[in-house]
């Protein structure tokens, strides 16, 4: 019996050849253990070497292979063909980002926003010399979840605010702001505050929560943003209502 096949409809746009994007169908073998990325690699190796997409680790940790699969932002290395078979699988670039070519989107906006929230340990006094900071398992747990972001940017593709207001810092950047602000070793909360609580910061978020729904690593960016809103409101309260409580 012939091996069953599945149709991959791949969104194509090559700026040097195409005037408009189009969907190109490919028939690939259906193997139950294959992920969508395996099917893409089959196309590239056997059918059409010109399909362009990013990938590397194929184990859900490098964050390269975010794309829209049957309308949902996903990692192509973590989306199994068996979830779709025998229906066709439609593969499109991540929404909300400018497309460079085929499934490759322009990530410049994220890379430019990232340093704005100082995603590193900010210290105003020196740490312990020649020894580690003490940090209890409970203190680690306070920020651990927000440190799991792989920068795959599925959350930006899902975020209705970012789609309308590209100035919004967005879920992953704000989750990283929370990750460092909640770290017991960090002293940068006040340094980040003007950006985090500024016009492009947490208050833009309308708490739709789509970012958390699509996150493949359970980072919960929506929860991180709510934490930052609360901290920001408390800072305001301390500063305005209770000025003697200012840190």
């Amino acid at each position: 019996m012939a091996e069953p096949t599945i149709t991959l409809e791949v969104w194509r746009y090559r700026p040097e050849q195409d005037t408009t994007p189009h969907l190109q169908p490919y028939q690939v073998p259906y193997r139950p253990h294959w992920v969508v990325l395996d099917a893409q690699n089959y196309i590239k190796d056997h059918l059409d070497g010109s399909v362009a997409y990013r990938w590397s680790c194929r184990m859900g940790v490098c964050g390269s292979c975010g794309m829209t699969i049957n309308g949902v932002p996903r990692l192509s290395c973590a989306a199994f063909l068996k979830e779709y078979f025998p229906r066709p699988v439609r593969v499109e670039p991540l929404a909300t980002f400018p497309v460079e070519r085929d499934l490759i989107v322009d990530l410049t906006d994220f890379l430019e926003k990232l340093p704005a929230v100082r995603p590193w340990i900010v210290r105003h006094e020196a740490g312990p010399p020649d020894a580690e900071f003490r940090q209890t398992p409970e203190e680690l747990e306070a920020y651990r979840q927000f440190s799991m972001c792989i920068n795959c940017l599925l959350c930006y593709a899902a975020c209705p605010v970012y789609a309308l207001e590209p100035r919004f810092l967005g879920p992953a950047v704000l989750a990283l702001a929370a990750r460092y602000t909640l770290d017991s070793r960090d002293q940068g909360r006040a340094d980040r505050h003007p950006v985090v609580a500024g016009p492009d910061g947490v208050w833009d978020c309308t708490f739709v929560g789509e970012c958390t729904t699509v996150c493949p690593k359970d980072v919960d960016p929506a929860g991180a943003i709510q934490r930052l809103k609360l901290a920001s409101a408390l800072d305001w309260l301390r500063g305005v209502v209770l000025p003697w409580g200012r840190r």
Binding site: R14, R54, M59, P137, L140, S147
Partner: protein, 606 residues
């Protein structure tokens, strides 16, 4: 150095700006003091070292992927460094040297072990979320071949957390310029000095000249020359091939590490930490077969430097013997043994091995708290690489290397698990610092000669690759042929006949690649062209591996010759150096540095 740069007039006239200037025939010129090739752990650590040494130094990171995609991200188990009471530098040195089967340079191992704790504490201060003991100090776990628990870890995503910590910390430094998704295709040598690279900007397809007073290769490993590997798509040995083509020898390339526990059919890594936490390996009879291969007795368990906590080379070799005895399990994707974590319990697995659990559930449909994990040895790490000294300097002035792409050598014939992550910190920092010093002392650049070389490179690209239409060979088939012959001839056990056949196959592939047909004529994100250039690099690396393996007529660590089953210190207590030549590489040897630890028998178990 930035203030000086405005005054540096290029020989071709005018001033060179970092923003770039269109040169003749579309080659764009840029200039930096130090150029780091590769944005993984070693590259990021090197860039920070340059920035911290002198903020006036202009440093750039050029990488074919965004830094957080680099394969450091996939390291799981941990990073070894002496920090706990009861441990000693001496003990870590001895474990590493014994693990290397005495092929490591002992002066380099001393440097590595001495500097690892400081580097690890530095990374802790930069925010790495290390797992903690209840008192708030960093927690450590045991690891294979180590006599005491000294491996720091961040659950089982240690490499991921180290990479993101380094990337985010590097964003602090204004003196670092980033070239994301630029692919370096040649090192440029003038006056006997490496003075820059040519790089393909993937977004536009344009070739750039990036002149630099020092270049540091941090491009990682080459596991993709094998069919079954833990390595991601990016691990194609680019830096090794770049150096090799520039006349720099590749050292000890025959030593390829098979990790004993890869998940078929993908090759996804199941970390050694699973065994460190108490996991056991059993054959089809439920028998802990490692006790039959000099690693027993089986009990008591867990026990350091014994059974499942033996070194990776011994464990992977034991698997092959089990296959020959017919004691492995026939799975849908070939022979496997079973990794049993069930007795650890769900709570421990969730806390200590959450990524293992996620990978097993997702990619194999297996819950490790209830089911056995099918595993078999998988290509994981290249002990060999670009020949460097302990400062990261290669024999080519101005060229440095660090991380997996380099061979200092501290790993010798077999790397111990959890030594590669501290290695990329220690030698990334050292190479960055040495490159910075070199750049400060060597200010002049032969820009017009470099530009001419870059134009030649553009022509080669056009002639050899961009117009590769009308060919008959598909890239995918060439890649399959390469990986298959490497597994057949250059696997865990080797012999002269198999190695000769592989060398011949690789020579044939060298001819076939000239007839490749590319489907994609585009400039913008031509990932097929990148794949072809990567394949060309892989072929060079594979030839260095196979010919080095053929020449080493002994068995040591990960290099096991069935026709020469004994270690032969009289002839081969030496590093292999493979030099590029017409056809097969030229093989030479260099004495191993032995200081205080004379060669002895490797003893595990007991």
């Amino acid at each position: 150095m930035r203030p000086a740069r405005a005054a540096v007039a290029s020989e071709s006239g005018g001033t060179v700006h970092a923003r770039g200037r269109r040169g003749a025939r579309g080659v764009i010129e840029r200039e930096h003091d130090v150029l780091i090739v590769g944005g993984g752990g070693a590259g990021l650590r090197a860039a920070i070292a340059v920035a911290e040494r002198d903020p006036r130094l202009d440093v750039a990171i050029v990488s074919k992927v965004y830094p957080m995609r680099s394969h450091t991200v996939a390291a799981e188990g941990g990073a070894a460094a002496v920090i706990k009471p009861g441990d000693s530098l001496e003990a870590h040195i001895e474990d590493t040297i014994a693990g290397s089967d005495w092929l490591a340079d002992q002066d380099a191992v001393e440097v590595f072990v001495q500097e690892a704790p400081r580097e690890m504490v530095q990374l802790e201060h930069w925010g790495c979320p290390w797992s903690r003991a209840p008192d708030g100090t960093v927690a450590v776990r045991p690891f294979g071949g180590m006599r005491i628990a000294r491996t720091w870890f961040a659950a089982d995503k240690t490499g991921f957390h180290m990479l993101h910590t380094l990337f985010q910390t590097a964003l602090k430094y204004a003196s670092i310029t980033w070239y994301h998704e630029w692919f370096v295709i040649r090192l440029l040598v003038e006056d006997g000095r490496c003075q820059g690279v040519t790089a393909l900007e993937l977004r536009t397809g344009r070739l750039h000249l990036i002149a630099a007073r020092a270049v540091v290769l941090c491009t990682g490993g080459a596991g993709r020359i094998y069919p079954f590997t833990t390595n991601g798509a990016v691990c194609t040995g680019d830096g090794m091939a770049l150096a090799y083509r520039a006349g720099v020898p590749l050292k000890d390339m025959e030593f390829v590490q098979y990790h004993p526990t890869g998940l078929p059919p993908t090759g996804i890594l199941i970390t050694e930490a699973a065994r460190a936490e108490g996991g056991i390996l059993v054959n089809k009879d439920g028998y802990r077969y490692l006790q039959d291969y000099g690693l027993g007795p089986a009990e008591p368990w867990p026990r350091l430097r014994a059974m499942e906590m033996g070194p990776r080379d011994r464990l992977s070799q034991a698997f092959v013997h089990e296959v020959r005895k017919g004691r492995t399990v026939r799975g849908p994707y070939g022979d496997v043994v079973h990794l049993d974590l069930r007795h650890l319990g769900e709570a421990t697995i969730r806390e200590r091995l959450p990524f293992v659990r996620e990978l097993c559930l997702h990619y194999a449909g297996i819950d490790p708290a209830r089911e056995l994990i099918p595993v078999r040895p998988v290509v994981h790490y290249m002990m060999g690489g670009v020949h460097t000294d302990a400062a990261g300097a290669t024999p080519l002035p101005g060229l440095f290397a660090a991380g997996e792409c380099a061979c200092v050598s501290i790993n010798g014939a077999n790397r111990l698990g959890s030594n590669s992550l501290p290695e990329l910190l220690v030698f990334g920092a050292r190479a960055g610092s040495a490159a910075a010093a070199f750049a400060l002392e060597h200010r002049d650049l032969r820009l017009s000669a470099l530009a001419a070389q870059a134009r030649d490179e553009e022509e080669r690209l056009a002639r050899q690759w961009r117009r590769a239409t009308g060919g008959t060979e598909r890239l995918g088939q060439l890649r399959a042929a390469l990986t298959q012959t490497m597994e057949e001839g250059c696997g865990i056990y080797r012999d002269a006949a198999g190695l000769r056949a592989t060398c011949q196959q690789l020579a044939d592939l060298r001819e076939r690649v000239a007839r490749v047909a590319l489907d994609d004529p585009s400039y913008v994100y031509n990932t097929e062209l990148v794949g072809a250039l990567e394949f060309d690099f892989m072929l060079d690396v594979a030839q260095a591996v196979a010919h080095s393996a053929l020449a080493r007529q002994e068995s040591r660590g990960s290099h096991q010759r069935t026709d020469f089953p004994q270690r032969d210190d009289a002839r081969f207590l030496k590093h292999t150096l493979a030099y590029a030549a017409d056809g097969a590489p030229r093989i030479a040897y260099l004495d191993v540095v032995i200081t205080r630890w004379p060669p002895a028998e490797r003893v595990y178990g007991g």
